[in-house]
Amino acid sequence: MAVDVEVKQLTPKDFASDQDVRWCPGCGDYSILAQVKKILPLLDVPLEKLVFVSGIGCSSRFPYYMNTYGVHSIHGRAPGIATGIKLAQPDLQVWIATGDGDALSIGGNHLLHAIRRNVDVNILLFNNRIYGLTKGQYSPTSERGKVTKSSPAGSVDYPLQPLSVAIGAEATFVARTHDVNVKHLADVLERAARHKGTSFVEIYQNCNIFNNHAFEYATGKDTKHDTTIVLEHGRPMIFGKDRDKGIRLNGLTPEIVQLGNGVKEDDLLFHDERVPEPTLAYLLSRMYYPEFPEPIGVFRAVDHPTYEAMLGEQIETSVKSKGEGSLEELLSAGDTWVVE
């Protein structure tokens, strides 16, 4: 097919809607919005084939700021809405912008099931460990003991680890990044977009109003090398400012070791995001500060058929074997009789 139309190369600007962005000044959401707009032109997906879906919360304002199709829906239900869109039009690229309350509290059930079905959507979980839009109550990812308006004596809830939840729900793509390291953020977003199936990305996002500095340990220039570990597929797990520390497995338990003195790189745990069993990814999702450096990057990326592809195949197979159903046949099926 010859196409003479000159395809215009899109730029980040083309993805901006005419609406003013209304997040608080200094919010981490701005950085995520900017990086999404930056990577979209790399994907060669036309504007009209993109849909951003969200629930309720600060992060859920996201669709209004994108010059694509979008639905700002109701609290927690974005995965259901997105699944419906993919059922109607499987070739659309669908993104979900959600927060820790939206995805893991009110929408926990829908999150699990969208992930287990492997619907081809990209889920961006803006984790700021607080309820921002309702002005500062503790969230399902807030640390125990968190003092907020609704927990003046400290929260007695144990927090969820979003990535452990996603891996437990059979996620095929799981990653973590944060709002400060924009290069890392953009790389992870691009990989999530290119993955076929549900991509689940936890983004550490600073809420400078209600939970400021929540991730400073992981993003601070001086601390990040010791508090985080960058995952690289096929590479040994090394971290530290001087890259002199590593993660080694002791039985089923990871431990931090100092390289040298007989400890070689080959003794360390090697990251493998493609291993079919999710055990390694799960183990990594259980490493958190201050006991361990927190892994950032892609934990898991495996290929499974998507929900909509399998449904489409069933329809195709059935049309092939029975022929495409006609209205006549539909109405006259089963036992009929003629009254004369």
């Binding site: 809607s17 609406q19 036309p46 504007l47 009209e48 084939k49 849909v51 951003f52 879906v53 309720i56 669709p63 209004y64 994108m66 010059n67 199709y69 979008g70 639905v71 700002h72 829906s73 109701i74 239900r77 995965p79 259901g80 809405i81 699944t83 419906g84 869109i85 993919k86 059922l87 109607a88 039009q89 070739d91 659309l92 059930n109 829908h110 699990l112 099931h113 449904l311 069933q314 329809i315 059935s318 049309v319 074997s321 029975k322 022929g323 495409e324 159903g325 006609s326 209205l327 006549e328 539909l330 109405l331 006259s332 089963g334 036992d335 009929t336 009789w337 003629v338 009254v339 004369e340």
Partner: protein, 618 residues
């Protein structure tokens, strides 16, 4: 298949114009199957039919217990009929529990066939009988026929190589055979069904065949059965017919709408009694391109419907009362985003889990008003199993022409009840095509409206029409988020006027009987059959009674007020505590009288007839 004729007999035959038979037994006894076979056979034979399955909520309650009794009533007639019959003329009771729970339904002097073998000490105790009712004379008001069904079935089918237990499983067909003989029903349709159903297990096919025939010939030979009855073919308009239940008709209507609109049907649902059969039916229709989605819960199903509608599909869900409650927030999103979608609510007894397998009409106010904010949707109701097909098409016509969620009310009685349905000619079906805007370079206004106040249905994938919608209030025309107070009031009124405007596109309220009479009986939903028959009976006694059965509940037909006001009195029978009554009184200031029944079962014709008499006298 050509209509078969009554089978010959050597015994005297009495011609009667209609008969109602009820099968009752343990839920594992195959009573539903026996009932369905009698239904199919009678329909194919050419009678008019109406059925009422009556099953327990428990899948398999303890054998012989009262809770485990499953029943199936079928009414067949040479006249047009509208209900499965008030009581039954013949009751087949497979055990004492079935007798105890169903005897009230049997007419005095009716035929009572019992499986004598099941009336042992243990079963009698489980049913709470201190004495054997077959022996203590308490059945004297009925024509009692004691049949050793277990023993006769075993003798008939024991040489098929099956275990005794498996042989006994065919006793429902022995009972069916006996009923076939009693009413001159042809065995061929059921023999054909057995052959195709058990093709891969010839021994089971043989056992069922032998049991059916043994029951039939037992009737012919034993002296207990002196007379047989014959119900002649009904005079039914010519055409091709099939039997449908309400749930089947909804499923057919959904697929037909999708074919007529040339759009993909997305049906997202969570299993719930009594709506699940719609999902089951549709899941078989993959070769029609139907996409069914069994969601993780009711809320997700509704969310997926909103998403699929945004994506340009014909989107529908089915549920029952508790599910409708869970869906209400997402239906509100459908109202705010003004997308077309259909919610089928197959009502059951409430509140809460209520009576899942029993029928009720107590969700009308939930459908009308059960959402936060001023949140109007179109509400329509089917009045018979086959009407579910027409009203499903109507639901999608309204949804797409007015860009709105539509709630279609059915109930457990319509869902599981069956009647003959004249297969419609394709040419007689409505045009369901819907247009979508294409980008023309101008700025797109997602909340601009046409003369129906309908906003454009722009679907993702259309270049130049990218837009964002959501649950926040919209600015009129441009569709951006707006917190402006005046705009909000304008939008609330616009949404209200849009739904009210549907009245211009629906038929006027029909009245059966004379306008201006002494009494108008107003109903909605599945009570149609009982009401219309009761009104016929009342008029046969020389009264001037009319009935108006409302299929469009929001908005009402435009002439409804005039219809109501042109009768001296208005009576509204409902299977609830007066929900339509509230709406009619509020909207038209008509002093209507309510008549309520909330027993999880439909009105009897006689109950409504009696109430009509009382109201006319009072």
């Amino acid at each position: 298949m050509a209509a078969p004729t009554a089978t010959p007999t050597a015994k005297p035959t009495e011609i009667i114009d209609n008969i109602t038979v009820r099968f009752a037994g343990d839920s594992g006894d195959g009573m539903q199957l026996a009932g369905m076979q009698l239904t199919n056979t009678s329909a194919i034979f050419g009678n008019d039919i109406a059925t009422l399955p009556d099953f327990p909520a428990e899948i398999r309650a303890p054998a012989g217990s009262l809770a485990g009794v499953s029943g199936y009533q079928i009414h067949f007639s040479e006249q047009r009929i509208h209900t499965p019959g008030d009581g039954c003329d013949a009751l087949v009771a497979m055990n004492p529990a079935a007798l105890k729970t169903n005897l009230d339904e049997l007419a005095i002097g009716g035929t009572l066939i019992v499986n004598e073998d099941a009336f042992n000490k243990g079963n009698l105790a489980k049913a709470g009988y201190e004495n054997d009712p077959l022996a203590d004379g308490s059945m004297g008001r009925y024509r009692l026929l004691k049949v050793k069904i277990d023993q006769l079935t075993t003798e008939a089918a024991q040489d098929t190589g099956l275990t005794n237990k498996a042989v006994l499983r065919t006793k429902n067909f022995f009972a069916l055979g006996l009923i076939y003989w009693m009413y001159g029903r042809p065995m061929d349709p059921t023999l054909g069904w057995i052959e195709s159903k058990f093709k891969s297990v010839p021994a089971v096919a043989e056992a069922n065949t032998k049991a059916l025939k043994a029951g039939y010939f037992y009737g012919e030979t034993t002296e207990d059965f002196a007379v047989r009855y014959e119900v002649r073919k009904a005079s039914i308009p010519p055409g091709k017919y099939r039997k449908v239940t309400g749930n089947e008709a909804v499923a057919l209507g959904l697929v037909a709408a999708s074919k007529l609109a040339e759009k993909t049907l997305v049906y997202a649902s969570y299993p719930i009694t009594p709506a699940s059969d719609i999902l089951h039916e549709l899941a078989r229709f993959t070769h029609y391109g139907v996409k069914t989605f069994q969601a993780e819960d009711e809320i997700a199903a509704m969310a997926a419907v909103v998403g699929a509608a945004f994506g340009g599909a014909l989107a529908a869900t089915g549920t029952s009362g508790p599910g409708l409650a869970l869906k209400s927030e997402a239906i509100g999103l459908g109202v705010m985003t003004e997308l077309p979608m259909v919610v089928v609510n197959v009502q059951r007894g409430g509140p809460s889990t209520g009576l899942p397998t029993k029928t009720e009409q107590a969700d009308l106010l939930q459908a009308l008003w059960g959402r936060n904010g001023e949140c109007p949707v179109a509400v329509i109701a089917a009045r018979s199993p086959s009407d579910c097909f027409d009203m499903t098409l109507e639901a999608f016509r309204i949804a797409t022409h007015f860009m709105t969620p539509v709630i279609l009310l059915s109930d457990g009685y319509l869902a599981n009840g069956a009647e003959p349905w004249k297969v419609p000619a394709i040419s007689a079906l409505p045009d369901m095509h819907v247009g979508h805007p294409k980008g023309n370079g101008d700025e797109f206004k997602p909340y601009a409206r046409d003369e129906n106040l309908r906003r454009p249905w722009a679907v993702p994938g259309t270049p130049g029409l990218q837009h964002r919608i959501g649950g926040l209030e919209k600015a009129n025309i441009d569709g951006n988020v707006s917190h402006d107070p005046v705009n909000h009031e304008e939008m609330v009124r616009l949404r209200e006027r849009k739904i009210a405007g549907i009245a211009d596109s629906i038929p006027e309220q029909e009245v059966e009987g004379d306008l201006g009479g002494d009494l108008l009986v107003v109903g909605w939903g599945s009570t149609y059959g009982a009401i219309v028959t009761a009104v016929e009976h009342a008029n046969a006694k020389g009264n001037r009674v009319a009935c108006a059965h409302i299929r469009y509940l929001n908005p009402f037909p435009k002439n409804l007020g005039d219809v109501l006001r042109s009768h001296k009195k208005v009576l509204i029978p409902e299977m609830n505590r007066g929900q339509l009554l509230i709406k009619i009184r509020a909207e038209y200031l008509v002093d209507a009288i309510g008549y309520h029944k909330v027993q999880g079962r439909p009105f009897r014709i006689a109950e409504i007839e009696q109430r009509i008499d009382e109201v006319l006298k009072g």
